[in-house]
Subunit: 270 residues, 2 copies
């Protein structure tokens, strides 16, 4: 790219900047080549979008950005929202001239769906070769917090000992399975953010399963930074327990700041 060429043109002919269009034939060849080479393709133009599949949608004429990635993900972006307006993963992509328009189609079976993007004009189209072998490293996931917690469950209550973590059951995975001082089994469910009623029903379900399989009294403790009011009610109705869990995201691993356990004895419930 020639330095300053674009901005130069824009500053001289500000009011006409938007009339510099690309021939659709040229765009078509850029697109076809990019898709074939699995490059990152960026197309900006005036278009109309239709989707048919799991649902159906129409996006009236307007200017959008089409982003096609090397893994055949296909996304129409408007100038708002993180998420694309229309999208498809693992799309089979075609691109052809139809009269005065350039029509891109993304299709997929299983589930069967299709996106049709009809470009009336294209302002910009460019492919980028994206050498990038790196992968993101994320810290502070729920699994990581569970593992951290496993190190010392006495934060939750004295004498609580870890038995297993991430133990797969017939259905779902129990975050932590532990044993309290009285020899009861304790199912611990960890949530990285404010727990809602779904977390409670999830824990209840696991707890009952474990109780059934192991055939001995089992408690359920939900650990989260906070819990929603109605979730709290549901939890207490179900005889489950909640423990507040403050943490700070650290590097290389999360740091547990402290745990305040709500005082609620098993005997209260039974």
């Amino acid at each position: 790219m020639r330095r300053g060429q674009q901005t130069g043109a824009n500053s001289i002919k500000k009011n006409f900047a938007s009339i510099y269009f690309m021939q659709l034939e040229q765009a078509q060849s850029i697109i076809a080549e990019a898709v074939q080479k699995k490059q990152l393709l960026c197309v900006v133009g005036n278009c109309f979008v239709e989707y048919w599949g799991r649902a159906a949608s129409k996006l009236p004429k307007g200017k959008r950005m089409l982003l096609i990635k090397g893994d055949s993900s296909f996304a129409i972006h408007q100038n708002k929202n993180l998420r694309p307006t229309n999208y498809m993963m693992n799309a089979a992509i075609s691109c052809e001239l139809q009269g005065e328009n350039l029509v891109l189609k993304a299709t997929k079976r299983k589930p069967k769906e299709s996106i049709t993007v009809t470009f009336y004009s294209i302002e910009f189209a460019k492919a980028f070769e994206m050498e990038d072998s790196a992968d993101i490293r994320l810290f502070g996931s729920e699994t990581e917090l569970s593992r951290e917690l496993m190190q010392d469950l006495s934060f939750i209550e004295p004498g609580l000992k870890p038995a297993q973590s991430e133990c797969p059951f017939r259905k779902g995975v129990v975050d932590i399975l532990a044993e309290d001082v009285e020899g009861n089994l304790v199912v611990v469910e960890v949530k990285r953010r404010k727990a809602d009623y779904k977390a409670v029903t999830q824990l209840e379900r696991y707890m009952k399963q474990v109780e059934k399989i192991k055939g001995k009294r089992t408690r359920g403790i939900l650990i989260a930074p906070d819990i929603q009011k109605n979730a709290r009610e549901l939890l207490e109705e179900s005889g489950l327990e909640f423990a507040k869990f403050d943490f700070e995201i650290g590097n290389p691993k999360a740091k547990i700041k402290g745990i305040k356990k709500k005082q609620r004895d098993l005997k209260e419930f039974f």
Copy 2:
């Protein structure tokens, strides 16, 4: 843009295409102006990304595309996945030269978080004025299906009638509240896709709430195109019912193809 300029350069100097870089100062001014004007900004370059907030992440050096939109959404895209690797909504954005690098920062409070993108080189940076007043129109959402169903509940079972014109419960909480021929209340939960155990616990919760408030026998019917095996078991254990719900996405509204109700009498349960 001059027609053919880009592809021309690429075809002549294929092997050197990637060495055409932009001065960071120039990129900086493009970026600053785009952010100020709420244009759609697209930057491609070699960078390193750090995130700190609800979690923490590091993305090692590599070539990515940064997309900043008019609503201050900020997204780093790799050449894979629909979703950005790093992102932020409603970001406060800064952009400054730091030594040999151009550093973009996106920050936010509530929750407090920040993304730092350190560009070592920038291959491309361009802002697009995105005149686009149109909004997507989507058909086939759960709400729409509920409304469709409301028209004629006899599809589910003969004599089933909407209980009240206006449900006394908060909108959206109970999909449909109806009354069967025997005068029982019926809570109907509609799912647009294969129902899982969460749909069952949700229905159970609503059903019990309604039963408690109204003080009369209440049934719960889950309506979905399909249901998972263990969700089915849970549902039957809870004395709830399932009705298959085939539909076709149509325009302007979804068409219900038919409903096959599983024969399961209330008396069976009570």
